[in-house]
């Protein structure tokens, strides 16, 4: 969390600067770089809303080595990236992905497909109604639904793990729909985050 905040503060102005320069070019470059898995400085372009990519000149921070530059570029740490959204919500007793969540899952899938070494855990949850073990099964269905979309979008199965906590770890305590809808969810947890 500390790192996330720090990077957010330091880097956002830098990326914004780059985005002003070239918008269309960045997207094109990112798209081409993705399938080959070329250096991450390029591939990060397509998932960043600011279009920081091959067409953009990013200056490493003083004293930062190559590895640090890569970390600095990681759109996962960009609070305005679609990747900042890490929770997908579901309707009651449903594992259908809602249309409004597709873009989020696609952004994560794209990010993962471009980085074979990055792993994500999909944690499925349910609201408190119904039996506990049934809710474990329901949470797994939801995690699997997100996993299956990611898989279709080219994410390797080795990058994605699923676990269901059912109703055991509610995000919000409460016994009405306002709490329940926050608890019927899949959380995307990147390793090391």
């Amino acid at each position: 969390m500390n790192k996330w905040v720090k990077l957010g503060v330091v880097l956002v102005p830098l990326l914004m600067l780059g985005a002003c320069g070239s918008t269309g070019g960045a997207k094109k470059g990112g798209g081409a770089a993705a399938p080959g898995g070329t250096p991450s400085t390029d591939s990060s372009a397509s998932t960043s809303p600011f279009g920081s990519g091959s067409g953009v000149d990013v200056t490493p921070l003083p004293g930062a080595g190559g590895g640090d530059t890569m970390a600095a570029m990681d759109p996962l740490n960009d609070p305005s990236s679609p990747l900042a959204k890490r929770v997908i919500y579901f309707e009651y007793d449903s594992n259908t992905i809602r249309p409004e969540d597709r873009a989020t899952i696609e952004a994560h899938a794209q990010y993962l497909a471009q980085r074979g070494n990055v792993k994500v855990a999909l944690e499925g949850h349910a609201d408190e109604r119904g039996s506990r073990e049934y809710n474990i099964a329901l949470g797994e269905r939801r995690a699997n639904a997100v996993r299956d979309v990611m898989s279709l979008l080219g994410v390797a199965s080795s990058q994605v793990s699923t676990v269901s906590y059912g109703e055991e770890r509610p995000a919000v305590l409460g016994d009405d729909e306002s709490a329940w809808r926050m608890n019927r969810r899949v959380e995307l947890v990147y390793s090391g985050q």
Binding site: G130, R132, E133, I136, A137, E140, V163, S164, E168
Partner: protein, 433 residues
């Protein structure tokens, strides 16, 4: 009559507080039968050491009251206090309308005790039972439960379940937003709770072995679902399953040799049976839906389970050897989490209506489904080993999870209250062997 709240006291075992004489679980009877049998349990006489750690007669009376079938006479209404049969004047007890009378004595014997008691039919003026129960130094409470079992069985013709235990999960929401989960075992009256295992990650679905010596449970301590089996005496535990996906809903077979469980390793949740000696798995369900929460029939031949294969969530049954499953419940949109009565005639389950999730009992002989409770979030029913009561989880004020029990006919209800945090997923142990 004032609502009787028994404050039960127990040392919080792991906190090691010398002065922690507080109840971790207490219970109150929220609904009793009107025709409870009036009984008097006279304070037991003491020879030798006058300072006993346990008031035996008080524990016996509390047990009998807890069953909902007895109304013990308050001590202040007792006209005399005999401690052996020769001192009993039946007229004293007929005057206060007591039908049964228990008198007894506690004798110090070496480092332990010998408790003698007699049970009388007041109106006929005859002795119905007389026993001597030995206990070691810290076994006096257990002896009291055994005495209550004998009295209960003598007067009702059914075995008592006071010497049994319950396992349940507690959860504490900590100030820093984290949670603390624990699996605890206490006496059936809520006394003497002991933490079996605790974790910052969820613990779920405890299941007693047939001999009452071990518990199987689900833990997420390794950030995935795993089933462990733990010996209660030694606290030694063994990792049983850690497959990809769900490892859940363990259910010990009546003969103790197998464990039914839910695994999703082959794609979606299915019921399997593991031979505990060889660790061989046999798959018993086959559907595209959710199959989970297996529960054995007492003869070990049938497994009841929850499935949404037909569109709504219902109870099904399948031969323990596998094969075609058939649907058991047809009323309502959601029936789940079966507990089978010890005689195999009833299924306790969660059933849903517009007001929420309640506990219901399905009579397997005539197909009648009786809703027994009226909570919104009642769940995890578990039959007492004598089949009289069903313990389950419900909600008290402020969403707090507490344990409660209801008789199979719905006429008796009790509530256990955890002093702190929440209690859930109660499971009643087998009778002590």
């Amino acid at each position: 009559m004032p609502k009787l709240i028994l404050r039960l006291f127990a040392a919080a075992s792991l906190l090691l507080l010398a002065n922690s004489a507080h109840a971790v679980l207490s219970f109150e009877i929220t609904k009793g039968v009107v025709d409870a049998l009036p009984i008097a349990v006279v304070p037991f006489g003491v020879t030798g050491d006058p300072l006993l750690p346990v008031d035996v007669a008080e524990v016996v009376a509390a047990d009998l009251k807890f069953s909902g079938r007895f109304a013990p006479l308050p001590r202040k209404d007792m006209l005399s206090r005999p401690s052996e049969g020769s001192q009993v004047n039946f007229r004293d007890w007929r005057l206060v309308n007591v039908e049964s009378l228990v008198v007894g004595k506690v004798n110090r014997m070496g480092v332990g005790y010998v408790v003698q008691f007699q049970l009388f039919d007041v109106f006929r003026g005859v002795q119905l039972a007389a026993y001597s129960v030995r206990s070691d130094a810290d076994g006096l409470r257990r002896a009291a439960h055994q005495i209550a079992d004998i009295i209960y069985e003598t007067l009702t013709g059914e075995p008592g379940a006071f010497s049994t235990r319950i396992a349940y999960v507690t959860v504490e929401n900590l100030a820093d937003g984290k949670r603390r989960y624990a699996l605890e075992v206490s006496d059936a009256d809520g006394y003497d709770p002991k933490v079996i295992v605790n974790s910052a990650q969820p613990l779920m679905s405890p299941s007693w072995s047939a001999d009452g010596n071990r518990l199987a449970y689900v833990t997420f301590e390794n950030k995935r679902a795993q089933i462990y089996v733990q010996d209660l005496q030694s606290a030694q535990r063994q990792l049983l399953t850690s497959f990809e996906g769900i490892n859940g809903a363990p259910a010990w077979s009546p003969n103790g040799r197998e464990l039914a469980l839910t695994l999703s390793k082959d794609g979606n949740p299915e019921i399997y049976v593991m031979d505990l000696a060889s660790k061989q798995l046999r798959r018993v369900t086959e559907s595209l839906g959710i199959d989970t929460e297996p529960a054995w029939s007492p003869d070990g031949k049938t497994i009841y389970f929850t499935s949404d294969r037909g569109g709504s969530t219902q109870i099904y049954r399948v031969a323990a050897s596998g094969g075609r499953a058939e649907r058991v419940t047809f009323e309502g949109s959601y029936n789940a989490r079966v507990s089978v009565s010890p005689d195999g005639k009833y299924l306790a389950m969660i059933t849903r209506d517009n007001a929420g999730d309640h506990i219901a009992a399905l009579n397997l002989q005539n197909g009648a489904l009786q809703v027994l409770t009226d909570g919104r979030f009642d769940e995890s029913p578990s039959f007492a080993p004598n089949g009289r009561m069903i313990i389950y989880a419900t909600r008290a004020a402020a969403r707090r999870g507490v344990l409660a029990a209801v008789s199979v006919d719905g006429r008796v209800q009790q509530r256990f209250s955890a002093r702190e945090g929440e209690a859930r997923e109660p499971v009643w142990s087998p009778l002590r062997q």
